[in-house]
Subunit: 277 residues, 2 copies
């Protein structure tokens, strides 16, 4: 049987993956959650028909979202992940021995449950005693917890529906306030080919609110265009004082200390996007 | 009207682009050639239903295939492009003032004609007096022209049908012989996510035949998985002695001198692929 799942990545472009089996489908109060077993990417989590993560390529996104900010912080002990209900970011955060607590602020409890059942290689660290699951609105959580975290990571869906607020200047100001001195923030910020206005606006906002800001890239095959951007901000100090020593000990499949700084070297068209008025 | 073109990028994955208009379709003696006007990527050239290039993202592939090897050569005067009938690589080669002649060895004359008619921004340099069009088999051309070229670029289709020979050790030996002393070779070598065996084999062959070999990456949204690889070999000497001075003067949208060396910094899984026995 030729069973295909298609995601409309933009109004004019689709990715399709051949499906062995639909392992799970449900409508939660927030979205339609599905887990597909695909031939190309192994098990795949979709939310409202948008690919979130897959067994084969999740390592790129999770390693790159997590390790650059955690290594930029001098001594990350308390970490907040907003979104990221699949648990992949939490798994990477817990590779850092200094971390004492990770709070996972996920709005949809069902995503966490589905990941626990169907995506064990991604959700495997959620049972760790250092993890505190906080089901609810990440924006409110940040507002209600000033001066609390060393690192805050936004592992969100695309900026539609409930995630829109996670791409706003007001939210970044709350994040800044929720960080302790020396705190570091990073967020997934979409595709440099297809979301240029968003990337530019977020970069400007984060630059205005944080002492230092940067944009870095990685390649995620299941995301539109492959090239994916992350925006990082440091509350005090710079982004280049990261720890090579701690980086060298991390077990990774994409991230490496060599790649760390080079991820900030942008193709000309992306560099120009950030620089132009 | 919802008109979509789909490419089966692997047996289990498709990319689809919404089409405004089919501008051209023909069967040449070698393949089916089509030019589609797409909403997402502008005009797009397909050969046997495989996307070759598009107006919106061609700059990535052509700049990265051409500028790294040309800047690695000390004084490139005679350049051979095998394949590349759309003219994009020739256009980039001619940005280097030292170049006196570019030979374009394309097996299918109709690709060149179609590009001239329908893809003017890509084929625009084909009328340059320094260009010599050589319709025929690139493998034979290389065999028959020893000690002739400073730089040889393989701008081929995927390794199926007539392009298979362009990925063989015998061909790389002929390329080596066709290069003059100090010569440099580069080829597009597919996706690190989906063509690992091929990349490893080509890298081993080029390493065995050339004094220095390297693999570098760029992100092309219309190619499978986004991440794309290029293999480069130097006949004499190393790959890091490239000219920053000449690089700084090139008008580009993706390539930059900063990106030049960093394109060789590979994600861990790609590095391990090249290193393992």
């Amino acid at each position: 049987m030729q069973l295909w799942f298609s995601e409309l990545q933009t109004p004019h472009m689709k990715i399709s993956c051949r499906v062995k089996e639909v392992l799970h489908r449900e409508k939660s109060p927030y979205q339609e959650i599905a887990v597909l077993d695909t031939y190309q990417f192994g098990r795949m989590l979709t939310l409202d028909d948008v690919i979130q993560t897959s067994e084969r390529d999740e390592f790129v996104y999770h390693e790159m979202l997590v390790h650059l900010p955690l290594l930029t912080h001098r001594d990350p002990r308390r970490v907040l992940v907003i979104g990221g209900g699949d648990g992949g970011s939490v798994r990477e955060v817990l590779k850092h021995p200094s971390v004492e607590q990770v709070v996972l602020a996920e709005i949809d409890e069902r995503v966490v449950e589905v990941a626990r059942c169907f995506l064990p290689t991604i959700s495997c660290a959620l049972h760790d005693p250092r993890v505190r699951l906080q089901i609810g609105d990440g924006i409110r959580h940040v507002q209600e917890n000033p001066n609390t975290y060393d690192v805050i990571l936004v592992d969100s869906t695309d900026p539609v529906g409930p995630a829109v607020g996670l791409f706003s200047a007001d939210f970044y100001r709350s994040v800044h306030a929720a960080l302790r001195p020396g705190g570091v923030f990073a967020a997934q910020t979409e595709s440099p080919f297809f979301n240029q206005d968003l990337i530019k606006r977020v970069y400007q906002d984060v630059s205005a609110i944080f002492t230092a800001a940067g944009l870095y890239l990685a390649v995620v095959p299941t995301y539109p265009g492959g090239m994916w951007s992350f925006t990082i901000g440091a509350k005090d100090g710079a982004l280049h004082g990261w720890s090579r020593e701690r980086a060298a000990g991390l077990p990774t499949r994409y991230y490496s200390p060599e790649l760390h700084e080079e991820a900030f070297t942008l193709p000309v068209f992306v560099k120009e996007l950030l620089e132009k008025e």
